[in-house]
Subunit: 296 residues, 2 copies
């Protein structure tokens, strides 16, 4: 359901983010070069830049200058990339293909992929620390926001539950918990950091939090649906992977049609929560609409 | 060469750090419990707490209240622990024994050990963000100091060079570069963060930097010597490991006696650099003395 102007917004913003990422990340020629090549290989692998776009769109919705949110936008993308590099390792999800290219460990080896993920995670905090603090939000608030979300209580915790849940039959409630921790938490933090960077009021941050939680769960349900319904070629990653390793998915638990309906209801809830931003929240609205309608 | 009162200082300070670490780290009962058990298993494995003790001793040398440096002290220890957990992985150094106990991946599995290291790295920044900023050093300076040192340019960079150097013959200059990146950088940052937390002058930070770089290299040379001369039982980790995997060591390149002499010269240089602290630098002096004389 995306209009030509929205498609252009997505592509322009992704390019803008890519230029900023290029500036933040260490150059390939810096020694030791292998790790910097691996970091750039993983970051510049053609991702959708969804998290940074959400971050910048949140800053825009709050009436702020989006450049102020750029370090946060790049930090969440670099952090997201680290989580993919480590998730793809043979001792984790063991995936050979990501975004249509061989995964980091297939190209650079397992040991280097562990180090590459570690370096990206560390770099995310270095980049975030380049945010200008605001009257309401000091630097420690930014660091705590990202560290809490990406730590053992949320993002990594979700991966642990995922790993421990393989081959077991999970309840819907358990799966929702995993999806919230693995996906919704970082999407929400992307929005919150963008708003914090432009000194948004607590009420606006709260609205974005509700938006992120609903949208994040919808996003992951759709990911589950696509894993079942789409081909490897279209996805750019191994399709049917979750079912193959007996991983619980939303469609497997509640069925395909009910999954689609729940995703739509969640997206509506998300959209309702950002009505408060009016015209300024237009890109957030379009993003939610786009994510529900996506086919890859 | 350690006196009974210095031995008591080491043991009391380590206990003090352990209590603080216990307060900072997520409790085991927090879900998902496995990751929090793995984190605590790795952190409370009986380490010497050398980095936090250096951090607190630096704060003391600068005439500050050591409690102010406690978040930084715990952050560097948690970060150091993550680096050990990942270094021990089968795809890295592949070690089964650490501090006299089975390594994290032997107990919790490879995937969980990757996640445990990730969680500890993330937690280190969360803990550091609890430091009170000072007039001279704002929060971003603390975060940048730790992130730069532990990132791809230093700590992780050193591990990359180490991994790539296995089985190759390294020059002394190359080995020094690895030792500086892998060991001296984090020891130096431990000292600097402790001093920053008590608002030390740039001149004092500079003196501590020289101290840390010399001491750090001496420390790693001694580690190489012990790996050659001591038994697995005494070390609490697999002895002769470096030689077994054809890893370059200081004694292998310059000989055992020359290694000992160079470590002693470096320690003297380190001690000279902290003369400026007078009586307040006594613990730093004793630490340097202790590290040169250690046999395990």
């Amino acid at each position: 359901m995306s209009t030509p102007s929205f498609t252009k917004y997505l592509s322009d913003t992704a390019k803008h983010v890519d230029r900023a990422l290029d500036g933040f990340l260490p150059k390939e020629k810096i020694a030791p070069t292998t790790i910097h090549k691996a970091m750039r290989y993983s970051v510049f692998a053609g991702g959708k830049r969804l998290r940074p776009i959400l971050c910048l769109a949140a800053a825009e919705a709050c009436g702020g200058e989006i450049e102020r949110a750029m370090p946060a936008a790049c930090a969440v993308e670099v952090l997201h990339t680290y989580s993919l590099v480590h998730d793809d390792l043979p001792c984790m999800d063991d995936d050979d293909l990501r975004r249509g290219r061989p995964t980091c460990h297939k190209v650079f080896g397992d040991g280097m992929a562990v180090l590459c993920g570690d370096a990206l995670l560390t770099e995310a905090f270095l980049i975030l620390a380049q945010t200008m603090q605001t009257p309401r939000y000091r630097m420690d608030a930014f660091i705590k926001e990202l560290a809490l979300t990406s730590g053992s209580r949320h993002l990594i915790g979700g991966q642990v539950m995922d790993l421990e849940g393989e081959g077991k039959s999970l309840t819907k409630a358990q799966l929702i918990l995993i999806h919230k921790a693995k996906t919704a938490a970082l999407l929400t933090t992307s929005l919150r950091l963008g708003a914090m960077a432009v000194n948004a009021t607590p009420a606006k941050i709260e609205a974005l939090t509700t938006f992120g939680q609903s949208l994040g769960l919808a996003f992951q349900i759709i990911d589950d649906i696509l894993d079942v319904t789409q081909s490897t070629e279209v996805l750019g990653k191994t399709a049917g992977k979750d079912a193959n390793v007996a991983k619980a998915t939303y469609p497997a638990i509640v069925g395909l049609e009910k999954s689609r309906k729940e995703a739509a209801v969640l997206t509506q809830k998300a959209m309702h929560s950002i009505a408060v931003f009016g015209k300024k929240g237009e890109h957030l609205h379009q993003l939610a609409d786009f994510l529900l309608g996506r086919e890859y």
